[in-house]
Structure formats: C-alpha cells, structure tokens
C-alpha cells in the first residue's frame, strides 16, 4: 500500500514540475506561430473564450494552411520531414 501511495505522489510531483516548466516556456514563446496559436483556446469547456489579441485573419489562415499542407499525417512511426525546404526540390528528369 505504501509503495502504491509513494508511486502516486511521485508521478503527481514529476508531472507538476514538468507542467510548470512547460507553462513558463509556452508563455514566454514569442515566435509568430506561438503568438497566433496563443489566441486559440484548446482547453476543456463548452464556450470558446474570446481571443486576447487582434491578429490579422490572413496570417492565421496562411499558417493553418501551411501547417496542413506541409506536415504528413498519414500512418507511420516516424514522421517524415516537411516539404518546406526548396533545396529538397529535385526537378523531374534529372
């Protein structure tokens, strides 16, 4: 019983510590994508809260489509790299 209890306390503590670091990192992320994503709440709840900042809708649309087009979501264990580097492009026939 003590073993089970210690394990529960340990898991709760470790996850909380990881959680705190992840929260602080995510709140300090200043990349364009992080700022755009920070406007959209994905936590639980029935009514979506209003966004905090006014962000140009075209940037959101572009980022969303860009992410959608470049990232492979088909089955497989290791995700292949995205098709965003021009140096990857090999013209047909060469």
């Amino acid at each position: 019983m003590k073993k089970n209890l210690s394990l529960i306390v340990l898991v709760a503590f470790v996850v909380s510590v990881i959680n705190v670091f992840a929260i602080i990192n995510s709140s300090n992320d200043t990349s364009v994508q992080a700022i755009v994503e920070s406007n959209i709440c994905t936590a639980q709840g029935d009514f979506m809260p209003a966004p905090f900042n006014e962000i140009d809708e075209t940037i959101v649309e572009e980022l969303s489509i860009e992410k959608n087009d470049l990232i492979c979501s088909a089955q497989g264990g290791v995700r292949p790299p995205p098709w965003d580097d021009e140096e990857d492009y090999v013209p047909s026939g060469s």
Binding site: N19, S27, S38, I40, T42, A43, Q44, K67
Partner: protein, 223 residues
Amino acid sequence: MITFIQQYGVVILHPIVLICWFLVYKNKSGDSQLTNFSIKMMMIFLLIFIIWDFIALLFSDNVSLARNIYLFFWVIITIYEFFVILKALFISLSFGKSQNKILLIILFILSIPVILAAILSHTKRTYNPINTTDFYNMILLLFGTVLILRNILSTGFFVDNIESFFIYTGFALYFGLHILASNTVSINFRYYWFFAQYATLISLIYWMGSVFFIWKIKSKHLF
C-alpha cells in the same frame, strides 16, 4: 444545424445526462462504495458544467468578464477532476480514510500548475499556458482513469461496480479525445476547439447511452 450543434449541443446534453444519472442514483441499491461515490461525483461534475454554461451565456456580451469566467471555471473543473480521479483511485485501491491527508497533499501539488497557468494566461494575455497544462493534465487524468478501470475489472464484483465502469470508461473517452484536441503536434490548430467540443459531445452521448445499458444489465425499471 451544424452550427447549432457546435454551439449548443453540449450545453443541452449536460442537463439531459444529469437527469439520466439522477435516475440511476435514485434507483441504486446495494452498490459498492466506489459506485456510490462515483455517481454523486458524476452528478456534481455535470452540475458544475451546467452552472458554468449558464454564467457564460449570461455574461457572453462582456468579452473581458467572459474570459475571466472561463479561466475561473476551468481551474475549478480541472481541480475537481483531479479530486474525483484521485479519490476513486484511493477507494479502488482500498486505502483507508487515514490516507485523506496524503490525497489533499497530492491534490495541492497538482493544483499548483493549474492555478499558475490561469494566472499566466490572464496576466500575459495568452492561452498557451492553459492549453499546455490542459494537455499534461489530460494525460495524467487518463492514466488515473485507466488504473481505476483496471482495479474495477480485477475485482470479482463487477455488477456492483457497473455504474462506476461506465462512468470511468466515459471519462477515459473524454480525457483521451481531449488529449487529441489539446495537443500541440496535430495539424490545423484553428479547429482544435471544435474538436474538443465534439470530444465532449461524444463522451456525453456515451454517458447517456450507458444509462440504458445499466438499466438492461441490472434489470431495474428506471423510467
């Protein structure tokens, strides 16, 4: 129709599911300690959501206040979910009441990141902290739920725990689908919220449907 389901589907389903589980609560007899606790906690869980929805609808015109109401209830429901899963885990592992102090300490440890995330979201005007912590919390809650289900299935009194089984499989569905909705590696982040709403909708339909199966399995007249 799709817009209506997206906006009000879960709001309408919460009281319906609460009524269904109240009927189960009224007709229960000779159930285990875990089942008695789980049904009560399930009804309070639904009640918190109903109050949350009611207040959110009432102050939907005031954007700033609506945001703070969201953050406040998000903290309440997350800590409540931790309490329910932890207490159910303690009951299913046959821990005595003497362990209640340890339960409170664990609950306190788990509440720190939740409260911190809500404060940071409010002060830094970003949803990233609560999105991040919701993701980690859901993993932890799913893990706890799976352990409870394991304990229910390993005991020899499955029929006594049938309500608990359906409540926690519903929670496993709810937490599992919300992990998909709140994770940061999925594509098309713009639609995560709607994915989360459908996750809630699916779980509520499951909980509602499970009342029928409980009635059929236990052969009790609920209606």
